[in-house]
Amino acid sequence: MKKSKFTLGDSRKRLMLLGYLVLGAFLLVSVRLLWIQVVSGTELGKRAVTQVTEKIKRHTPRGRIVDRNGEELAVSIMVHSLYVNPDEMNKSAKPGKNEVPRDVARIAAQKLAPVLNISEEALYSDFTLKGQFVWVKRMLEPKDYEQVIKIIKENKIPGLHFISESKRYYTKKSMAAQVLGFVGTDDSGLSGLELALDSILKGAETRQTFKTDAMGRIIADKNTDPEETKEKTMVSTVYLTIDSKMQFVIEDALDDAMKRTNSAGAAVLIMDPHTGAILAMGSRPTFDPNHFGEYPAANWLNRAISIIYEPGSVFKPIVGTMGLSEGIVTADTPINDTGSIRIADRVISNWDGSGMGMCKFEDVIKYSINTGMVQLGMKLGAEKEIAWAKKYGFGKATGIELPSEEDGILYNPKNMYEPDIATLAIGQGIAVTPLQELRAICAIANGGELLKPYIIDRIVAPNGEVIRRGKKQVVRNVITPEVAAQMRTMMEKVVSEGGGKTARIKGYRIAGKTGTAQKIAEQGGYAPGKYIASFVGFVPADKPQYAMLVMLDTPRGAFYGSQVSAPIFRDTLQQILVAKGIQPSSSEGLPSFEAHMKPGQTEKRPKHIPPLEAKGDKWKVPDFSGFDARAISIELEKAKLVLEPHGTGKAYKQSPAEGTTVESGTKIEIWFR
C-alpha cells in the first residue's frame, strides 16, 4: 500500500482474498465431513444406534413350588414396579406462555406419598435427581398400582412408568421356610430350594429392545408402557415330597416346643424310611420368606441339614447294629453294667451313675446304658467304628437337593485314643447332621438300606411332561435285614419298656431312641449346661411308615431327650397317624414278619422273606411258602409284580413256580391257608 490512494481495484483484491479464504473454508468443511461421515461413519453410526437403543430384560413369573399333593407353597404373580424418569418428569413440563411452569415433581411427590407410604421429601428428592431411571417402589400391591395410575392420569404427571416384575408369595407364610428359601430382587433365588432350583424356577427371560430418546422415553409409541408387549411364558412346577399336612403338624409342634422349652433352636424331620423321601422338615428359629429381610440371617439356616452336633444316645442303635453285624453281641449277650467304666484316664458313667449289674445287651439299648455301649465300642475298635460310621453315611453330605448341607465330622481312626473309641459308642466324638442321623435310623427301619434322601418328588413342565422325578436311591446296604429287625425290636422296647416311654402312642408299636448330648462349644470342648435333646424313631415298629427325628438345641429347664423331645415325637406322630389313617397295631389283624415270633424268641429270627432276584429287567420268583400275604405283597411290589391271593393265612402254593423268570407286571398267584 505505498500508493497514497486506495482504489476500488485494491478493495476488490482484498475481497478476492477473502473469497478464497471462504472457499478454502468450504473445502475444509467438505474434507472434515468426509472424515466424519465416510471414514468414521460406521463407528459413529454404532454409537448413535447404541444411544437410542435400550434393552430391557423381563422375567415371566417364577415357577411354582407345591407339596406332593399339589398344594401351593410358593407362587409368583406379575406385579407392577414404579420407576421415575426424572429427566422426563422435569424437562417435559410444558412452559406455557402465560401460566407459571408447575413444579411437577412437587405435585407428584405430594399426591403419591400417602399411597406409596414413602415420605414426600424422599419422593421429591428422587424425582429431582439427574438421570433417567430411579426405582420409586418395587412390587406394588395391585390396589396401590391402580391408585397410582389414577393419580398419574388425573394430574397428567409425566415421567412415571411401570415395569412388570415377578413377585414371590409364600402362601403358607413361614411354613417350611428354610426348605423353600426365598427370592431376592430380580427374581434370583437366594436360599433353600429357591436357590438350588433357581435355574429351573426362574421365569423365562425375555429381552426387548426399544428405541428411546435422550430422556429415555420410548420413541415408537410413548403412550404404551413396554410391559404390554411382553410375551407370556410359563415355567415348570416343582412338586416336593413334603406333605403340607404333616409339615403343618410339625411346624405347630415346633412353635409349641420352642415356647415351652425356650430352646435356642430346633429341627424336626419326617422321612419315608423305605424311599428316603422327606415328608416334613422344620427348623427353628424360623422366618417368613415373604419378608425375609426382617429376620436375622441365623433364622434362614435349615437346622435339619446345616448344623452338626454330637448325637449322643440316639447314636447307640447304630453302634448296636455294628456289634450285631460283627457278631460281637446278640440281643441276649450278657453285659455287666457297673455304673461307670474307666477307659485309660477317663471315667464314663451312666446318666444316673448307677449300674444294673448283669443284664442283656438289649437292655443296654433299652435303658441306654453307657458302660455297656463302651464295652461294645472297645471290642469294635477304632477302625471298625469309623468304617461302619462311614458305611452309615456319616462324615459326608447326604446329597439331598437342598443347598448348604453339612458333611459332619468323623475321626481319623489312626488319631483315636482309647477314650475316643469308648465315647464314640455313646455318640460322642462324632458330629452329624439331623438328616444323617435320621437316614441311618431309616436303614434300621427299612431292613438295612442306606438311602439318599430327596425332597423333590417331580418337576412338571408347563406341557404336563415330567422332566425330573425323585425316586428311591439306595446308596448301599449297610446291615442285613436280620440285624435291622433285631435292632427294631430293641428300639421298640426302648419305647415300650425303657427310657423312651414318653414317646408311647396308645395302640401303636413305636421304635425309638432318646438322646441327650452335651453341646459342643464353639471354641471347642463342651458347653456347660447346654444340651441337645433328641429323639429319633419310627412307626409302626414292625413295618415302619414314618421315621422321625426331633432335635432341640439347648432347651431351658428339662433337657433330657425323653423329657422334651420324645413328647413332641409322640404328639406330632399321633396326629399324623390318625390323619393318615394308619391303623393301630393292636387292633390290626394283619400279622407282620415278626408277629408270629413268640416274645423272647427274637434271637431266633423269623426266616426273612426270600427276595426277588433281578435278572436284567426280569425277576426270578423265589419260594414264598410260609409267608403271609402282606410280606409277599411288599416284596412283589418292589418288582411291580401283581399278587393274586387265594385264601388267607400262610402261603403254601404258588404260580409261577420257584425259580421262574418273569417280567414286571406279571400276575403271581399264591394260595394261602
Partner: protein, 404 residues
Amino acid sequence: MRERFMLWENPKDAIITLMILLMVIGCINVFSASFVTADAMTDNPYHFLVRYIGYAAIGWIIFWVTGFRMNYKHLMSPRFYMVVAGVTILLLLATLGVGTVVNGSRRWIYIGGFSLQASEIAKVSVILMAASFLGDRLQRGLRVSLLGYPSNQALIMAGFFSLLIFLQPDMGTATIVFALMLAMYFLAGIPMRQISYIALIGLGVGLLAMMAPYRRARIALWLNPWKDAQGGGYQMAQSLTAIGSGGLTGLPWGQGSGKFFFLPEAHTDFAFAIFCQEWGYVGALFLIACFIVLARALFVIAMNTKDRRGYLLVAGSTLFLIGQSVANMAMVTGVLPVIGVPLLFISYGGTSLLTNMFALGLVVSVYRSESARELMEERIAAGLPPVEEGRLRVVSSQRNRRPF
C-alpha cells in the same frame, strides 16, 4: 451468447433460484429436526415448520420490496446512517431491559407471540452503516484508519453494538458484529500495518484467554469432545455422532436420532448436523455446493459493482451471509469451537431469516441499479440516448448475462 442450458440468466436469478432451493431444504430439515421438540413443547409437531413458513413469507415481501421496489441509495444517506445506528442501539438496549432470559442470557424481545433478536439486526446495521460511511470515504478517495477519527467512527459504533450484545451476554454474536465491521474496514482500505496489528492483538487476546484454565478446558474439549462426552463435550459429541451416523447416503428422512433430545439446538444452530445425518455426505456436499454457487453469484455482483457504497454493501452482505454459513458448518463439524451462528435458510430463526432476506434484497437492489448503469453506459457508447423512452428501464445487461 452461447447456446447452452442454463438454470439462470444472470446472478440475480441465480440468487433467487438458490434462495428457493435452500428454503425448501430448510423447510424439510427444520421440520424433521424440530417436530419432536415441537410436539413436546407445544403439542404441535408443525409448530416450527409453520413459523418458518410464516417468517419466509414475510421475508419474501421484505426481499421483494428492498430488491425491486427500492433504491439502495436511499439507505446510504448520512441521515439514514444515524437512524440505523440509533434504532439498533435502542433495540439492543430494549433487549437488555425487557428481553426474556433464555438459558441465562437476554437475547430476545417477545412481542405478541413473536420474538425479535436485536443482535441479528445489528449485523445488518453494521453492513448498512459501513457501506454508507466507508463507501462514501472510498468514493472520495479518503484513507480510512482504525485509529484516526472521524474515519473510525463506524468502528466505534460497531464496538458499542458489540458491547451491548456482550452484556446480554452473547460473546459469539458480539465478536461477529465487531469482526464484520473490521472486515468492512479491511475492504475500505485500512493500511497493512493495522491489519498486522489486528492479527497481533487477536493473537495476544487469544493467548491471554488461554490463561484461564476453564477456557483451556473448553479448547481441549473442542479438540476432543469425546473426553467428556456426557459433560462439556456433549453437544459436540452428539453433533459428530449425528453427522457420522449419516454415512455416505444418510438415514431415511425423519429417522435420524439426533433430534430426539440428544442434540441440543437441533433445529437452530445444529440443523446442519441433522441434515448430514439424514442426507449423508452426498447431501452435505450438495448443500455446500449450493452455498458455493450462491457465494459466487454474490461475489460476481460485488466484483462488477462500481458504486463504492453498493460495492461495499454487496461485499459486506456476502461476507455476512456466506461467512456465517461457513462458520456454522465449521462449528457443527468441530472445525471451529461452538459459536452461536446460524446457517443461512437451514437453521430456524425468525429474525435472522428476515435480516438475511433483507441483505439479499439489498444485493439485488445494487445489482439492478448497476445493470441500469451498465445499460446506460452501453447506450452512450453506442451513441444512443442514455435513457430509452425517457425513463430508466431495468434490464439485465449483456455483460451480466453470461453464465458464471
